[in-house]
Symmetry: C2
Amino acid sequence: MATKEKRIIDITELALRDAHQSLIATRMGIEDMTGACSDLDEAGYWSIECWGGATYDACIRYLNEDPWERLRTFRKLMPKTPLQMLLRGQNLLGYRHYQDEVVERFCMKSAENGIDVFRIFDALNDLRNIETSVKAVRKAGGHAQGTISYTVSPIHTTALFVDQARRLQDMGVDSICIKDMAAIIKPRAAYDLVKGIKEACGPEMRLHLHVHATTGVTMVSLMKAVEAGIDCVDTAISSMSLGPGHNPTESFIEMLEGTGFDTKVSMERILRVKSHFARIIGRYKEFLSQVTGAETEIFKSQIPGGMLSNMESQLRQQGAGDRLMEVLEEIPVVRKDTGYVPLVTPSSQIVGTQAVLNVLMGRYKVLTGEFSDLMLGYYGEGPGAKNREVVTLAREHTRKEEITCRPADLLKPEWDKLRSEALSLSGCNGTDEDVLTYAMFPQVAPKFFAQRHEGPLNLGTDPATGSSEIHPAEGHQGVITGPITYAVTLSGMQHKVTVAPFNPAVS
Amino acid sequence: MATKEKRIIDITELALRDAHQSLIATRMGIEDMTGACSDLDEAGYWSIECWGGATYDACIRYLNEDPWERLRTFRKLMPKTPLQMLLRGQNLLGYRHYQDEVVERFCMKSAENGIDVFRIFDALNDLRNIETSVKAVRKAGGHAQGTISYTVSPIHTTALFVDQARRLQDMGVDSICIKDMAAIIKPRAAYDLVKGIKEACGPEMRLHLHVHATTGVTMVSLMKAVEAGIDCVDTAISSMSLGPGHNPTESFIEMLEGTGFDTKVSMERILRVKSHFARIIGRYKEFLSQVTGAETEIFKSQIPGGMLSNMESQLRQQGAGDRLMEVLEEIPVVRKDTGYVPLVTPSSQIVGTQAVLNVLMGRYKVLTGEFSDLMLGYYGEGPGAKNREVVTLAREHTRKEEITCRPADLLKPEWDKLRSEALSLSGCNGTDEDVLTYAMFPQVAPKFFAQRHEGPLNLGTDPATGSSEIHPAEGHQGVITGPITYAVTLSGMQHKVTVAPFNPAVS
């Protein structure tokens, strides 16, 4: 029997970025990744996502690791495979809009340090917020991937998304990604959307699909996307997969057997990657997401994988760990009031935090500044109509006016100011890279610059000897840093005593 | 737009049998199930699997619980929905062949006590081993489901399985099940097999598909089976799903949205079932399977997760813990010599143990009695040609002849003897049910009969108060319950002090 030639489906491996962001709160240190790089590079992936998202933040906040140095390490250890990052458009990797020159410099520096593929998205799908980065990436010789933040709402029809894809094409992107951060794209929807975009934009426009595994249906959505003409899918090596993470790479490859589709990824290579991370992941148990099975309630709440664990810990810190279900029910209410924004960084945090406040304090009794800004247009324009009463509350609360222009148009040139502020910090090395670190994380950068010379930390613990006394229970993500007060009875008398963890080294 | 009527896909819920057998070594006690029964019964499942497999064994061996009483409890609490059991044909729920009268009495008593649907399989797919039970079930008014033990080998073609389905139909089964216990049925294979059987047996012959989730591909196989015409699929409620277990029920239902298929299961009801078991499962942490992610290596070895850990411990006991890879390579050799038997209880254990011996002692230098019996036909006839040299060795080793008849034809009537032996045991209540317990588990039954009056045990532990020394670290959800030793400095002097958490209520 003659075998028809199989269509090759490309794969982007997520292990080094979104997988550990979703599963262990982005805490993996570089030295736990380097051992896998050679096999990753030789495996035949279309790209390896390894930077952006929360990794930059986690590097300087928790790991005392220079994110630019991490990127250069990846580039050196993986010379063959395109390296990919996730970029929040005009927000870069920070949590506000930046003036265009800052955006341009960031894209140029990222390309210079090793990034090939820039996946650029805006939480509100306001394309004005990604245009500057798309242009800057193309100018820097990078691959600019325009992104559709997928969501489900009464207004988010297939036609709306297909129109967005066409506008991305007009903008000049090199490829388009459907980004389903909450695992809510069902098989039929995936099929229709991929088909619709391919028909509208033509077969030459590369189309990628990013899904999480949380709801248990998206492996089927990947199959349907393949049948509908997808060019590339995102998966994570099995030992770093499932739960709030992604579908397992090996399973995706095995699934295609006997179909008209195949991949170019070497199973032998990636089984070594699997073994590597199977050994590593146990060291990060204390950061491990408690979501392990499938959570179909997300179809209602639409909370993305990375965020659910954050919200759980927010609630626990407030002593309200038992009210997660109420918050999950409040989120759709808040989201509707925003005009159905997709829930992805930063809108997911903004809507999620507001929902937490609504549950704890009463609905809209307290507004966060960020939520007010969202309602007033300072994050851009969403696709739907906002609740005007809540807009009024936001205006009263902030004494700011509602805007309709591109938010970054309100910003004055800021690079020189950021640069001089950064250079005045102890430990700043004077590079544009350091200025960008300061620009995106002004609160964290000073401490990081000052401590950088001490070298990266590793937050993993040996699961065999793992000091359960130093890292007990939960809540504090792993390390007790502050003293704790206990009731101690000594010789029959109770004392209120404040103690620090027992350190055998000094005992 | 006119909506075409959707085809209804039925669901069998596995929470009460295979789910906890796969995830927590069958240890769940009846009182942790009763709270879910009302919602399960009202949900609209085609059937609820709740008995058979290892549940009977676990009841009397670990839980001091009468399995017949458990069944009657289910029947009482779930009067509307058909109750389903898994039956190993002529082996019943034991580990040898039983004479026909014992088989007939077991089927009759199971139907009397509440079972509606009997899923009947044979490890070798020797239909002579299931014929007696199929007849007995139909005589008792039950639904007899004939089963194909799915496996992958050079001789197990779609045509071979379709032929088996036709022979099951000729035998008079009420429905047919494809049973994929190792999670190795890939989407394309599932599609072809379902299509093939439906075409061969006609649309009126109900077809069910049982899959595990272990390899991460079988949710897609379920979708393909649906597209190919499957009538009913097996799933488990999400809080009791995935890993070595099954695909989540809620995800299966959600997955069908927008397709031409639907189910009759109430999401509202089963989300309550989910919550119930989400609370319960934490109490059985110490029995929880260590397999959690996807394991695609099973496609090559075909060794189910449970068997792998058994084999590792067998090897370690022989001081040969480092030779697992050799054993994994020996298994396909041994399996080929048997004529490619499917690897499922008891053939998986028999082949695995022989492979261990081959590695440790030299190939076929030592034969187990069970392996010899398998080679000589005492478990029935497999589909492939056996290695005649190994058959000769087995004959020499056991001084038994090769047989070609149905193994149970060699058995003399044994009911009366079993009955008088059982009745002589202290605590035996004289019922046929007790005789059957003794017949299937002669080693365990005496102790169980003697202790039954003490009532069921619950092996779960309260994760909040559960002794942290027995269940340390990650087990308890965040509450420090046991005392902890700290270094406390009081007036400049360091003391080693053991303290309990500060409790404001008593301060």
